[in-house]
């Protein structure tokens, strides 16, 4: 049996009679890029929210490294090593690019009030190392020259990359990316794919992502799962899923604005 990093069993989530997730099972192996696809309203973001403690699922289990995540708050889940980005860019107003990444390292730093007030040797060393590491991450996201800027001035794709490295700064073992390529043009999408690959390969981080753009999904994923109306209709290697009739139906049947390019 393979040891999965994230195991989801029989997950149910209802909102006022509407069932957003119905008996979803998901097994995410370590060091892979796992994509969730499905038409709008298929419950992909709800699944992320359940994993990340935004609200508890009605039924089912979510196990991360063999320990249940049910009942933990968002910040506790984050400190267990699961980082996340949102569908819309949510950078912090009034903080510089460098500071955004430093906030990402919050859970890994130890400086308390006393350390901050006295600028003790340990706290300064920690701050120095944090800044060094943040600069490495900014280098990775090709934002090195912009570290003193405020995020509003960055182009959209750069904001997305910044958000991803901000999440990466918390040194997660699992990174949840909600449509990382939304609103990003073609050349920048290439760059984004490259970034996600490097995250897996160089940092050893497992990536679970939601994406609409099928070209991204096929070129990036090790595994794909298809959600439709809150149910998982198919999963497996990208080629297998592409050949799966139920997956094709899920896309062609319900959402004309999406092209499932085979």
């Amino acid at each position: 049996m393979i040891d999965y990093l994230l195991q989801i069993r029989g997950l149910m989530k209802r909102f006022d009679g509407l069932t957003a997730l119905r008996w979803v099972d998901l097994n995410v192996p370590e060091h892979t890029i796992y994509s969730l696809i499905g038409p709008n309203g298929a419950g992909k973001t709800t699944l992320f929210d359940c994993i990340h403690g935004v609200y508890p699922p009605d039924e089912g289990e979510i196990n991360f490294r063999g320990h249940s995540l049910i009942g933990l708050s968002t910040d506790q889940v984050a400190r267990r090593g699961i980082a996340r980005t949102y569908q819309t860019v949510r950078l912090f107003d009034g903080m510089t690019v460098l500071e955004q990444v430093l906030v990402g390292m919050h859970g890994r730093m130890r400086t308390g009030v006393i350390g901050a007030l006295l600028r003790t040797w340990t706290s300064r060393r920690e701050e120095r190392r944090a800044i060094d590491f943040a600069r490495q991450l900014l280098e990775l996201a090709r934002l090195s020259d912009l570290d003193e800027q405020f995020p509003q001035v960055l182009p959209h794709a750069a904001q997305r990359r910044l958000e991803i490295v901000r999440a990466l700064a918390s040194a997660p073992s699992l990174l949840l990316l909600d449509e990382p390529a939304a609103g990003v043009d073609e050349t920048e999408t290439e760059e984004m794919i490259n970034l996600i690959h490097r995250i897996r390969d160089e940092f050893g981080v497992t990536v679970l992502l939601v994406e609409h753009d099928m070209s991204v999904v096929t070129s990036i994923s090790d595994f794909v799962a298809v959600l439709d109306y809150g149910q998982k209709v198919a999963d497996g290697r990208p080629q297998e899923v592409q050949a799966n009739p139920r997956a094709i139906e899920a896309f062609l049947g319900s959402s004309p604005d999406l092209q499932f390019r085979l």
């Binding site: 980082a83 912090f92 903080m95 906030v103 919050h106 859970g107 400086t111 007030l117 701050e127 901000r166």
Partner: protein, 655 residues
């Protein structure tokens, strides 16, 4: 077009009528803006009429000069007709039962007999001028308005300024700083160290020159260094302790040589500061705040406003060319000069002025404490007064004789017993207890929504006030009489030197304690802000959920911020009690919370503007008692207006 003018005029009329009925134009009886020429009352009337014209023309677009004049004049006409009608009405029936403060504005404020028609004409003309102001170019307008406003402000407190600073003191300092900066420029020095050296040498040279002149009889009555009636405090050092004098000028010269490389904002601030020194020095040579004083003030401020608006970008560019180490030196130079100014301030402003500065400093302290929660996390604490009062009462209980030490219910009766501990022992304890109290309050409160939290903290503040007043706790808290006789701190260093014991009971000495506390508080606040903890706070303010996603524990962050803020508010309260020689329940009302909140919000999040706002709202009414009646009114209006502009950062955290 006509309609906007009429609406603007009517609106202005409503406001001016309101001011009239409040008796604003009669508040400053016998106070002159310019001695024997312009009374404050008349100036206020003129300012409101100019404002009317300005506003009408601005609303109407003010596309050309004649149009702007017409719009301003038209609005002025409406206002003047309305006011005259009010005066006629007042002659027919007695308004004083309803409006006890009402006084006829037009004819009495002018203090000359004018016919209704003349006053009407004057108002229209002045309003038309206001309309013209609205039409002039924005860049020039801001220069003119800044200079006018500062001149008005200085004239307002002119009689006090006249006795502060001898001209020769002002000129010496200015000469050292400006000639040093010019010399650096002329020698084309680009290194920070070199230019400081040049400045220091220049300062030394000037010090020697002044000393020579002083030795040559310049300081004797009628001497060249004795223009005006104010004793030169600083230059006077030449005789009493020449070494200090020379060293001080060398230091000022060294720091001042860098002013032309300061980053823009600091550059502007410093230049305005120098201009103020010059104006105050000049005023000391006049026998009263005359038209000359006002004119010189206006010219100096016009010059400085014009000069800095052109030069600050140049200076900014120079600053940017430095490496980071030099930049730090330049910044330190700015803070050093500001610090030197603050350090020497009590020497010039006199006993009363220092007392006022102390009060300003205490409110500043409280505001900075409040700011930690408000600015960083965006939580509105309307009950900061509870922590302020806690600090004051705790210090009072610990340092005065009371039933804990004397066993007598009424404090102060038993002779020969002292407080539980000294000020220096009580102060840290006060800090800790206030902080703990803050943490305990924060623990349940943190889960509340922004506005509910504000209401809950407000209720806590009110409860504190009511408990302090209640007779139920008289033995400990003294009910309405409070705790009197809180001693001033005492620094006892006789172990080192038998002569070293310092009782900080002079206002001038207590000032330094407050200054120290402010510097400490600012440092705490800024260090926290730029640390891991402060970044988490700011992230929460910007986006609560995203912050949580990154592993930030919101509850924990709130409690830490609340604790820090409460501890510092307790510190402010403790010093406040010492300042008043007692803790009295009437000092700790909801108004204190509101004033602190208003200061932080109108201070727009910067310590410098916070300081200016505190000076204006706390300091100025101490000098001009009539203003005290309007202090809260002005604060409330400022709060309402400021909230519209500064709400953006609070958007998400509050939601």
């Amino acid at each position: 077009m006509l309609r906007t003018t009429i609406t603007a005029g009517l609106f202005a009329l409503a406001l001016v009528t309101l001011l009239t009925l409040m008796g604003v134009f009669q508040s400053f009886a016998g106070r002159d803006l310019i001695a024997g020429f312009l009374s404050v009352n008349l100036a206020l009337l003129i300012v409101s009429v100019i404002g009317t014209g300005y506003w009408a023309a601005w609303r109407g677009g003010a596309s050309s000069i004649p149009l702007a004049l017409a719009q301003g004049g038209g609005a002025g006409l409406i206002v003047s007709i309305g006011l005259l009608a009010l005066e006629l009405l007042e002659r027919a029936i007695d308004l004083h039962f309803v409006f006890p403060n009402y006084a006829r504005p037009l004819m009495t404020a002018l203090e000359i007999d004018v016919t209704p028609l003349t006053s009407l004409l004057l108002v229209v003309l002045i309003a038309a001028f206001g309309g013209w102001l609205a039409h002039t170019m924005p860049s020039r307008r801001s220069i003119v308005l800044t200079a006018l406003l500062l001149t008005l402000l200085f004239s307002f407190v002119g009689e006090r300024l006249r006795t502060m600073l001898a001209l020769v003191d002002a000129l010496t300092v200015l000469a050292v700083i400006l000639s040093g900066a010019l010399l650096v420029d002329a020698l084309d020095v680009h290194r920070v160290g070199t230019s400081m050296l040049v400045g220091a040498l220049n300062g030394a040279a000037i010090a020697v020159a002044v000393a020579l002149v002083a030795r040559g009889g310049g300081l004797s009555p009628g001497g060249i260094l004795r223009s005006g009636h104010v004793e030169p405090v600083f230059v006077g050092l030449v005789v009493s302790s020449p070494t200090v004098f020379v060293l001080a000028l060398v230091l000022v010269g060294a720091l001042g040589s860098l002013i032309r490389s300061l980053p823009g904002r600091s550059y502007t601030v410093l230049h305005y500061g120098l201009a103020m020194i010059l104006v105050i020095g000049f005023a000391a040579t006049q026998s009263r705040w005359s038209g000359w004083s006002a004119l010189v003030t206006l010219v100096v401020f016009l010059a400085v406003a014009w000069y800095t608006s052109r030069q600050s970008s140049v200076s900014d560019a120079r600053y940017d060319r430095f490496d980071s180490g030099s930049q730090r030196v330049v910044r330190v130079a700015f803070y050093g000069l500001t610090f030197l100014g603050l350090l020497t301030l009590p020497l010039f402003v006199g006993q009363f002025g220092t007392n006022t500065l102390n009060l300003v400093g205490l409110y500043l302290l409280l505001s900075i404490a409040l700011r930690i929660v408000l600015d960083n996390i965006g939580l509105f604490n309307l009950g900061i007064v509870a922590f302020f009062a806690l600090g004051a009462y705790l210090l009072g209980i610990l340092t005065t004789p009371n039933l804990l030490t004397c066993g007598v219910a009424v404090p102060g009766i038993a002779q020969g017993c002292s407080g539980v501990m000294t000020f220096w022992q009580a102060l840290p304890l006060t800090l800790i207890v206030s902080g703990l109290f803050g943490a305990v309050t924060a623990l349940p409160l943190v889960r509340l929504r922004g506005d509910y939290l504000a209401v809950a903290t407000f209720a806590i503040g009110e409860m504190a006030r009511l408990v302090l007043r209640a007779d139920d706790f008289r033995p400990l808290l003294g009910s309405a009489q409070g705790i009197a006789g809180i001693p001033r701190p005492f620094i006892d260093l006789r172990i080192i030197n038998p002569a070293w014991q310092l009782r900080l009971d002079q206002e001038g000495e207590f000032y330094y304690l407050i200054l120290l506390a402010i510097i400490l508080t600012v440092m705490i606040s800024s260090r926290l802000r730029n640390s891991r903890i402060g970044r988490a706070w700011r992230a929460i303010r910007a986006d609560k959920r995203a912050a949580q996603t990154l592993g930030i524990d919101i509850r924990h962050s709130y409690v830490v911020a609340f604790t820090t803020s409460a501890a510092l508010a307790g510190l402010a309260g403790a010093l406040f009690a010492v300042h008043l020689y007692g803790a009295y329940p009437d000092s700790f009302t909801f108004q204190v919370s509101i004033v602190a909140l208003g200061l932080v919000v109108t201070g727009l999040g910067r310590i410098m503007t916070l300081g200016i706002a505190t000076l204006a709202l706390i300091g100025l009414p101490e000098f001009v008692r009539e203003l005290a009646d309007y202090r809260l009114l002005i604060l409330g209006i400022a709060l309402i207006i400021a909230m519209r502009f500064v709400t953006r950062p609070w958007r998400s955290a509050a939601g």
